[in-house]
């Protein structure tokens, strides 16, 4: 008897995913490009190279003047920014086509002074500083009312699009709310309109009850493999407490997030042998008031499979590893 694959719908965005249970792949089945360091390269993010970056906008330092060694974390504007902070939006047409100037901000969070560390290997205290810097930069940039959305994300490893080895994350502030963010907001609003409950709060409750897709839980956060995972080992980190904006986190959240982010990355490293990955903080648009319907969270995607024509043509995803399986592998990783 042929077992049909399962089509699963993401409850927030309505996107369908094909979970190909009969070709289910185990962690060792993926062709991986483990993240490795190339020795001897000159790195503009290392201590002593501060003049190779634009002047810092934020730093944690034991001593030393700005843009000198002595720091443990630095935030600097991207040297080749995708968007620039000066000027006007300057919306205009070219016949039927529309364009505007690339106004915004593009910053790099240099997570540590140690070139060979990463978020999984560095001390928990240092991850906490990184998360603190994320919050600080959003709180500062949201004062600029031209900036409508602020995205925090990380590309780790060349396969995930990283061009620099030195541990870093990125921030991009945009003059418009992007289409994908708006879709997620709209999905959450639709659910709230129907149920008068936050879809993410409901999702957390159901996952706590089912337990099959839970990776770990602490008093403040839960880590799950989502129902309609687009990719093998796609992992979400959600705060238990309802909060629409990431930048509203308090000191305890910040500590709790540092712990859970580091421990989740350690599990992924253990099970998938240092995979390349992307993570993105999903949060409500910065100029919006706190809302009952959206719930900030982190989406983490190890880079194990490739998008191809089918995904491009439809927006469907095909995932060869059911989230129940990947959750089990991560729970069994033997790490707290």
């Amino acid at each position: 008897m042929v077992v049909l694959p399962e089509l699963r719908k993401d409850p927030i965005t309505d996107r369908w995913v094909i979970i190909a249970t009969d070709r289910a792949q185990r962690p060792s089945d993926f062709a991986r490009e483990p993240v490795e360091f190339t020795p001897g390269r000159i790195c503009p993010f290392c201590p002593g190279m501060e003049t190779k970056t634009p002047p810092e906008v934020l730093a944690i330092r034991d001593g030393g003047a700005p843009n000198q060694p002595g720091w443990s974390l630095r935030v600097v504007p991207n040297k080749l920014p995708l968007l620039g902070i000066e000027g006007e939006l300057n919306r205009q047409g070219e016949g039927m086509f529309d364009k505007m100037d690339g106004l915004g901000a593009h910053e790099v969070i240099i997570e540590t002074s140690v070139h060979t560390e990463n978020l999984a290997s560095m001390p928990e205290k240092q991850v906490e500083r990184v998360v603190w810097a994320f919050r600080e930069r959003v709180l500062d940039l949201k004062k600029d009312k031209r900036l409508r959305y602020i995205l925090l994300f990380k590309n780790y490893g060349a396969a995930a699009g990283a061009t620099m080895e030195h541990p870093h994350s990125q921030l991009i502030a945009l003059p418009v709310v992007p289409k994908r963010v708006q879709e997620e907001m709209d999905g959450a609003i639709k659910y709230f309109g129907f149920k008068e409950r936050c879809v993410f709060c409901d999702l957390i409750r159901q996952e706590m009850k089912d337990q099959t897709r839970v990776v770990s839980e602490t008093d403040r956060f839960v880590v799950i493999e989502p129902w309609a995972s687009r990719f093998p080992f796609e992992t979400w980190i959600l705060p238990r407490r309802h909060q629409s904006h990431f930048e509203s986190i308090d000191q305890k959240d910040l500590e709790g997030l540092a712990f859970v982010l580091r421990s989740t990355l350690r599990k992924l490293e253990r099970v998938l042998e240092k995979p390349a990955y992307n993570f993105v903080i999903h949060t409500a648009p910065v100029q919006d008031a706190a809302s009952d319907y959206f719930h900030w969270h982190i989406e983490l995607m190890p880079k194990l499979t490739k998008l191809a024509g089918f995904e491009w043509g439809t927006g469907f995803y095909t995932n060869p590893t059911p989230p129940e399986e990947s959750a089990r592998f991560l729970r069994d990783a033997g790490l707290s």
Copy 2:
């Protein structure tokens, strides 16, 4: 003076793209993985190996019985289909989550019996057979009213997600109209509601007038680099004549499409040194009547850049090569 990058909006889907004009990349700047053959591998798509695939559903053959050598093109069900044709949709819930069975079809169009050919190198007549087979399979499958959308696409080269070397395209028939297709339909309907004209017909008129993004034109087709190209050398092939459904093409269209598809791929091969690529035929849902607002076309995407956290988080794309530049490179390729 800092030149701000340009944000451009796709007139159909409203997606924004950052065209980073100041870091503009020429064809030689991309790290490429040229598509190459591994000699000596046993190939289940080669003549004499017909028993290695499920029985053919369509073939062009000079002689020989079905599923025997003597063919120049074969269409077979995928051996590991993403979706199966037998059964029912069987929609059901699991708490707040929704699922259904993976009902549909997944077929492989084996484009030629010659393992080492490709759509750019094979005779034009053979490309015509491929396009003919595309149409035949859609016309046959659309009789099954459970199938709501039929996607034709090609992954060429491992970097674009191909797992088999032998020249082939794929067809996937789905029991739902996918989200991305519906978005494109909705965008076209919105434009039609505003202008009472097809957005693609308008786009062709403007591109013919501007000429800056035109790669080539024939009496039946135009080839352009779209205004809001998501990727370097993204290329669209559009029929001049308004038609919502690909499968409505007549014999002359079929010949014209074979010519223009082959010649476009030859130009991309010349300029980008045999790049991996995906193409997807964008067409209206098969069970819908012919419409005034949608216009079928092919979107072709050479695989030169990687998606990273920013793209995942926002649905924005960043393209380091303005379409006006890539159009010029392709026009100058010195091929008809």
